[in-house]
Point group: D2
Chain length 457, copies 4
């Protein structure tokens, strides 16, 4: 489909994640070819209801709940979906694949670690049968899209709170469309390569430059720069060293999917003479996957246990051999009712907390009242057993204001499209863009779920 | 003076800093001998009035303003002051020496860096003539107090946001009195030795143990542990590296007395190919003093300029030789109206800010409305000239909850006396002590300015 | 028991509610006679555990949970308990009577409405058999305590967020002990008499004056004055009038025990042409009791339904006769999981919310994370059904700073004892007292649970 | 100028106040005729600089400072300005008239009180000579605009924190354009008529209905409803009654332009037996104007003094005749450095504050750091003299969420244009509109300063 004057039509459908964080989904049409970026799940819309099992639910019900993207707007896009491209393995980017991908005759293209998590997501699904091809493509690689010979998909390496994250770039005759969700500008990311700013700068200057930049606004309202994972690591090291002499129990928790952080915890456990052990279903899942794919080189004897029975067996062994010899790294950093640390707080596991035992939250509380209530309750129960709490040892995975400034400077995009937030969250990013000469309605496209933005007609 | 049963009377006068942060002053009497810890100034009580010059004011007026300790309660202490002992060189600990010390026939005993700052403080005084002996004593050293042969003063090395800080310990036959203001538990403090926890643990266990511990409650209500200066340094390094490629102006500001931080700024400036230069009256004062006393080894060509004329001359040179070659490290981190960065924001210096220039605040805003208003205004003026702001690259110099927990564990004091805060600030420390078996009114002494606590009668 | 110089010994045991809000209990000994003020329950310590039914639990377990006062310190008081005196009917003042009162051979003396609620509390108890006499005494009345002929108990009328609240005053030869929990200084309280400030001023000036004042510090840190219930009423009227023209569903919720507020809701419902109906177990309980005791004169046809079946039947009737004709006044203002409004939000009742329906919260969220999480969730579910939310139409029942200032001025107490808070909550009240010439440790007694304060020896 | 198909072109220029609160200015073109709504001043952009006197400054400098609207975009509007219509007398709506109005050959049309304030504004101007006709038109009246005979301007009565506020409505063949700044939905406004919701509902339903609604988003993010001025009045009455018995000094402050509030203060002063007296330059200005125009009927002997000399003379008289007989109502509610209350705090007036004297702030602190700093300082100085502070006795003049909901329901506009805020402030209003079926980019027009919105082409 050619536009006026032999240009290629470029159109963007903002399907999900433009009114919330969660259920991300964006489609870009370049001529006759469409690429879908992300198909995510908004878990908080599920959890507000009691006793909901998403694995067994139908897409339409989940759409009605606001839990997955309402992809019915896709029928307005005149073109064929050539690829479904999740940018990384977090649920808000891959969690709806098992509910929606089967509707499209297209492969799922992602980085190796992400593909593996997508595979597990599909296997856990009970309602739909997703049989799309799973194609691995690594950061730095490019594939051709469709038959025009003019459209290519490139993966640029970025740094986030999960490994193997990329930013996909769709190269078109009208310029590049850069899908910028989710990243931090990290030059020393502990695991993996630094963010590839050189490539972003090249893309900004080569050919037609950048036609459009879709940006993750999560932290756009926070001043300065998101610190590197190395800063969190240094902070964590400081905390762990400070309790080196303690001869009782120390327990740590973090995001299970945050392999770099888990790795730091494992290393520092050894530094202070303790045997690390990973406990909880998702701890086992993510770290096991990362190890199998050789993203990390954990100690050979690192235990990982997900099933409740094997977890409890491990706790019994720890109690028997002496808590002072172990560092359990467990699920439950947000006080999730069924997670391991919450169960420990409730006294439901064989691990007994004593007065003075340390609990390290290498995470921050996700600021949402339901969540804050649960986390508070979990901490309170831990403290009632004598636990000493260290929290907030963490850095965000999302760019702050100066990261956004530097991305704009690198890419020099013609159009910007704020995403991964609601209107209020877009506001500071819009302000930044305006201070750099962009104008709302002209080249800043503030939009909501289910809309189309026609960039080249 | 002997108490009952041949015990030595021990009495503590809580003179200042028990209703506020600022104007610290505490006296401890052991038998006939009295030692005074700190004589500080509460600057905010001065600044609330217009056009006040403390150098020319009389003590009594400053006492009435709440700016310096009301030491008239000292007349109730039956004993002779044998030493005045400031713990470190911050104004809230030494700022009233020039107004009060001459009333006592006793030497001022402090660590070398502190003594030097006390000397400068005395020299700047216009109203009183302070001629007390200035005696240097280093961390780890001990001196005898009075003639009883039973009382000794020891300096234990601690870590704070200024170098050469100590915690004085008064050893008496009834046990040690540990004056615990102000410190962070830092095992990797960038400059100087780590906090001497081994010695604290020894003191807690030797002889009669610790009779009383006077503790700095500033951050007692903050969870977890105050990070090491190394964490701030790693954070700062991350920020500086992230602007390494920028070819315009970069300016940094921090607490002038924070020599470790200034040193990191100087080093990282060189790492990113810029010549550091220290500008502003107190920048020159503190860094110059630290260099003369060999606490730091700055580059030979490091410029330090305090007088407005030499500062402006330096700015002119920077503008001429190219802003991209320099890192001015300036005063003004709190938006103080007359500080260098504030003048730069107002366009009152030859340094011209361009769009995209970076301003790095390696400090946090002191949370007090007057202050917050000034800092906001300063930042706003900087931003109106196009500056990009990085702030809050800092760690506190004061223990948080888990540091307090560890100090209690190390010292096992019989009595605790919360200090360096008001009642509200004492509250979380009292809660902590209660959770460890202490009781308010029995062995937790919550008090206010101008009171006596009789520990041994 | 006489003290030195033929004085009567006066001693105060601070049993519960001196480290928290909840489980209030204080005992005052005057010579040989002891009066106990309040025996309350701290519900939040119960709710943090799952599936706890307090009715069936033993006192000692509830003490261990921190849910009821640990009254074992009473054995240190040498005297006989002559009366148990709850000040008003809130759970944190009467909720432990059913667990503890049977240990004392003394009547429960309270105002008529309070006595009725105590009776119901005792009837609901499954574990203990409380058979203490229940004695009604009204505000303005006095009874003799013990056999000395020198000790009297007086009830002074106060205003709070429940009707028939009093402040008990124990008159002794050494002066009056005024137990000041919980009150607001309300001169126009909608129901009942204004606070009896004249009597407080008299007590402050007659005889020996006031020996001790035990004060409720809940809002001591809030500036200004707690507004009168009339202000909340005017605010509520404004909200109700503003939706007068709406022809769909309007639902209101408030504290069930807040009879004045319920009365205002009932009246304004009629003003805007709607039939009020009270729904939910505690709505029925408190309003039914108030009506039976003639504290209010509700319309004859005002429906009150507590049992789920009758509530649901009523909802069905409302749906049939038209939502626009009714104002359901329901439980659930804090988002309590089992309350009526929460059930409505979950769609578990026959009442169907439509887009634009109004939900009026005449209450504020009690600021505690668990609570905030539940309330957020409840509101979110209501909004997902289209409800429009009006909240925070409320005034507190507790004195703020200027109320405390006026009470001090009226009573001129020799000693003050801050209560009904933790240390942090006491702090602003201590500051106020210090500004009025009191001194911590001398005549301000900051204490914790389980302590004794000897006022006259 | 006719559009397609004989429609009339309707275009809206969003000149100022779309990125901030302050410097409001919007122009609406209907065919060949243009009406300008508001010409305001953003005072905070002035105050951030030292020693600026706006009266003497040129428009272009003030535009560069961001202090007044950049009206250069007006040259893009093809039509003739027929009227300049300020909606009410606040500076952010009339403050730039003296700098900009002379550029347009058009009368200034406003309500009588507003016209009077515009006149004074023009008289105080030193730089420009504004000679536009001043035309009074009252709420409920209509005038014809231009020569087409098809465009009319109507004033609808609204309620705000200043008297005689209106919302102008431009009636065009394409429907009405309603300029909705600034209002509260007040049915009992103390002075003046209630908001004319009946007329708004008619406008929503008559003819072509409402083409566009420009809405004030100041409080769009606050839940519920802005209370009526009657609620603030009831609150104020409660505070005043509570200090009725106090026999020392009582001082009150509020917004000088808030005539309803000043009136309440005057009345309640008399109720508690004190003679009210208005002090401070703007107190005299606004209240004097309101009295001359018969908007209020103050007591005959009410003193109003603006000049420093007469104020000080009055203070001397008050001190001589007894503070207990007066209620000075003064300027300074935001801690403005040169206002009366600030001078009183500094001890610069003959009025001496004693311990226990009351200061009533019938205002809220405008939440901006510079401001908060000044107010804090002012309060602190007052408290250092013993003053007791009552603050926050106030209601906002701007609609909250449910007011916006009701306006949408009344007007049923085809297009909405959020105004009187920045992007972040627009966000909650956009969310509300979206929940009511509007769509960003389709019929919600989020814009910034200096843009055009073409509604009918």
């Amino acid at each position: 489909m050619l536009g006026n004057d032999q240009t290629m039509e470029i159109e963007i459908a903002t399907i999900g994640g433009y009114e919330e964080v969660g259920r991300q989904m964006t489609a870009v049409r370049a001529g006759d070819d469409v690429v879908v970026f992300d198909m995510g799940l908004n878990l908080s819309q599920v959890l507000i209801h009691d006793n909901v099992e998403t694995e067994k639910m139908h897409s339409l019900d989940l759409i009605d709940m606001g839990a997955i993207p309402d992809d019915r707007v896709m029928s307005d896009l005149e073109g064929d979906v050539q690829a479904i491209v999740p940018t990384h393995g977090h649920l808000d980017h891959i969690g709806a694949i098992s509910k929606l991908a089967h509707r499209y005759d297209a492969p799922i293209v992602a980085s190796p670690f992400t593909i593996e998590l997508v595979k597990q997501q599909i296997q856990g699904e009970n309602k739909f049968n997703v049989e799309n091809d799973l194609v691995k493509m690594s950061a730095g690689e490019t594939m051709s899209i469709g038959d025009s010979g003019e459209v290519d998909l490139e993966f640029v390496n970025v740094t986030h709170s999960i490994i193997d994250a990329i930013n996909p770039v769709l190269h078109t005759p009208e310029g590049a469309v850069v899908y910028g969700l989710d990243k931090r500008m990290d030059h020393t990311p502990v695991i993996g390569d630094p963010i590839d700013m050189d490539r972003f700068r090249e893309i900004g200057r080569e050919g037609e430059g950048v036609l459009a930049y879709i940006e993750d606004c999560t932290n756009a309202g926070r001043k300065g720069r998101t610190p590197s994972e190395s800063v969190a690591r240094r902070h964590l090291k400081d905390v762990m060293q400070s309790v080196e002499d303690y001869d009782g129990g120390i327990v740590a928790t973090t995001f299970s999917s945050h392999i770099a952080r888990v790795t730091s915890l494992v290393e520092f456990a050894q530094d202070i003479g303790r045997q690390p052990v990973l406990l909880g279903r998702s701890m086992e899942k993510y770290s096991g996957t990362a190890e199998r794919l050789n993203f990390v080189d954990f100690p050979d004897d690192l235990g990982m246990y997900g099933h409740r029975k094997s977890v409890d067996r491990t706790f019994k062994r720890i109690m028997k051999e002496g808590k002072e010899n172990f560092l359990p790294i467990v699920t439950g950093h947000q006080g999730e009712p069924r997670a391991m640390l919450t169960r420990m707080g409730r006294g439901e596991t064989p691990y007994e907390l004593d007065d003075g035992d340390k609990v390290i939250f290498s995470a921050r509380v996700i600021p949402e009242p339901t969540n804050e209530g649960q986390r508070y309750q979990s901490e309170k129960l831990l403290k009632m057993q004598g636990a000493r709490i260290y929290d907030d040892i963490h850095v965000s995975g999302h760019l702050r204001e100066e990261g956004h400034y530097q991305m704009l400077d690198a890419l020099q995009p013609k159009h910007v499209i704020p995403a991964h937030q609601n209107m209020k969250g877009f506001a500071p990013y819009v302000n930044l863009c305006e201070s750099q000469g962009y104008e709302l309605g002209r080249d800043i496209h503030v939009t909501s779920n289910g809309n189309m933005i026609q960039l080249v007609e």
